[in-house]
């Protein structure tokens, strides 16, 4: 009998990178092969977007409130309490909103996609789809990745608005400011260099969340334990990707707009 071959960790890691590149190429190719699954795409947008809205809304609201409550003592100490709307809006729209909402989405969406596809793999549904001549990548992967790519930026926009509104309510706990004045100050303090780069990076956050969820689900091994592992691994990997993309986006934005 042949000897058991042990593959070194770095080789496995390289293999995994190779498989991810192959999977991403299949995803891109299947966008353009024709017969786009519109109904499944719309269903995924509903599942991913609408069903995450409450979680994103509540989290963003709390973040807005907490940020104002944390900022206030310091800004008051420096006599800059009037800068609270500006400070909150710039920090929330540029960084805190997109990253926190993407992390929330990674926890909810990437895990859900990873578990769903992992479960389909375990119960041979993916194999059944494949051997029937249907295209599981087109039906399951393309629709989910594109849905997250579309819905995460929309969720971030909604979350930004709710977070800033939370900040307004928190501001009025101690001070008084009308909603119209607050809105005017927020809008005046934001320009396209705050908004556009943040929006673009949320598209990549959405892409990463969908891709990682689908990849982990598709490549889970055939056992019930692997479903949990796929979900867990999808969250961890997607969260890591979000920070990596954020770091790259900040560098590019700094070079383009803040030099």
């Amino acid at each position: 009998m042949a000897e058991e071959i042990t593959i070194p960790g770095w080789k496995k890691w390289l293999e995994d990178i190779g498989e991810q590149v192959t999977f991403f190429t299949r995803f891109i190719r299947n966008i353009f092969v024709g017969g786009f699954e519109w109904s499944e795409f719309v269903r995924q947008c509903y599942e991913i977007g609408y069903r995450s809205m409450m979680l994103v809304g509540v989290t963003s609201f709390i973040m807005g409130v907490v940020l104002i409550l944390q900022l206030r003592p310091t800004l008051v100490e420096f006599g800059a309490a009037s800068l609270m709307p500006k400070t909150l809006s710039v920090s929330f729209v540029r960084e805190i909103g997109p990253v926190i909402i993407a992390i929330i989405c990674a926890g909810k969406i990437a895990s859900s996609i990873g578990a769903e596809l992992g479960s389909m793999k375990v119960t041979e549904q993916l194999d059944a789809m494949d051997v029937s001549g249907a295209n599981p990548v087109q039906y399951l992967v393309v629709t989910r990745i594109l849905a997250t790519t579309v819905m995460v930026p929309i969720l971030t926009l909604i979350g930004d608005v709710i977070g800033l509104f939370g900040g307004y309510l928190a501001l009025n706990l101690t001070d008084h400011m009308s909603l119209s004045l607050y809105a005017t100050k927020v809008i005046a303090s934001l320009d396209y260099t705050d908004f556009i780069p943040a929006f673009i990076k949320t598209i990549f956050f959405g892409l990463a969340i969908g891709f990682v969820g689908c990849y982990k689900g598709f490549h889970s091994s055939k056992g019930t334990e692997s479903v949990g592992l796929a979900a867990n691994s999808a969250v961890v990997t997607a969260s890591l990707w979000i920070f990596v993309i954020d770091a790259i986006a900040v560098q590019i934005t700094s070079l383009l707009f803040y030099q």
């Binding site: 041979e124 029937s132 249907a134």
Partner: protein
């Protein structure tokens, strides 16, 4: 290689009985250091039901997974309708798969869809049928054939084990494949439901004129559906013949499969 005991003539069918639709020669497949298929040889003729018996882990499922292109063999020849499966491109493999139905052990129903949506999935995605009337007609026909007309709008989770197998069979047959591959179709079912599924396999074969390979451990199922039985042992074919011929075999391993059969 173990001696091949009895070579039986394929059962006569109304169509071309000599046409070999699946041709396997010296097939080998290993996973890491484990050699699962050592030397598999098998011809399956049009219209016949070949039952493959063997202990777990002998490579029965691996063989049919190679036939449908889910696994690539390490060596040997595997031709379906005269085409070497391992050499097919993506498009050709898809075309071949449209002629092959694969019933998974679990039924593998898509659990986010109703039974009707499960039936419509291959019709709309594989055969590209979009006409509502034709979809309804074909779905109703196949569900009636497997006795699931009343379950069309149920979710797979609401079905019993036997119903799931029937629904899986219906979804596989709805695209009217020429070859059916059954992976343990009666596993996990009670004896009465197992018998019903076995009869259903036979009825569907007669109705849709399919050629089939049935992998099973269920001797009652083998007795009902088999035109020819092949026994696999340690990655090789040990014996083949009709059910009755193998039943009378003197080979100890073959006899062990028929020990409870009167």
């Amino acid at each position: 290689m173990a001696e091949q005991e009895i070579i039986a003539e394929p059962v006569e069918k109304s169509h071309d009985k000599n046409e070999v639709v699946i041709e396997i020669k010296h097939l080998k497949k290993s996973f890491g250091s484990k050699e699962v298929l050592k030397d598999i040889n098998l011809d399956v003729h049009r219209g016949e039901n070949v039952v493959v018996l063997g202990r777990s882990g002998q490579g029965k499922s691996v063989t049919i997974q190679c036939i449908v292109g889910m696994l690539i063999p390490d060596a040997g020849t595997l031709k379906v309708f005269g085409e070497e499966v391992a050499e097919l491109g993506e498009k050709e493999l898809k075309e071949l798969r449209m002629k092959i139905g694969f019933l998974f052990q679990s039924g593998a129903l898509y659990d986010s869809m109703t039974v009707r949506e499960n039936m419509e999935f291959p019709l709309t995605r594989v055969l590209k049928i979009s006409d509502r009337a034709e979809l309804d007609s074909r779905v109703n026909e196949i569900l009636e054939a497997v006795g699931l007309s009343d379950a069309a709008d149920k979710m797979p989770s609401d079905l019993s084990g036997g119903m799931r197998k029937r629904a899986g069979l219906a979804r596989t047959l709805i695209i009217k494949p020429e070859i059916m591959l059954y992976d343990e179709p009666t596993t996990g079912l009670d004896p009465i439901t197992s018998r019903e599924i076995s009869k259903l396999i036979l009825e569907m074969q007669k109705k849709y004129k399919t050629t089939a390979i049935i992998i099973t451990h269920d001797m009652d199922c083998a007795r009902v559906v088999a035109d020819r039985v092949v026994i696999m042992n340690e990655g090789e074919y040990l014996a083949e013949g009709t059910f009755d011929e193998l039943h009378k075999s003197n080979n100890e391993i073959v006899k062990s499969y028929f020990i409870d059969i009167s």
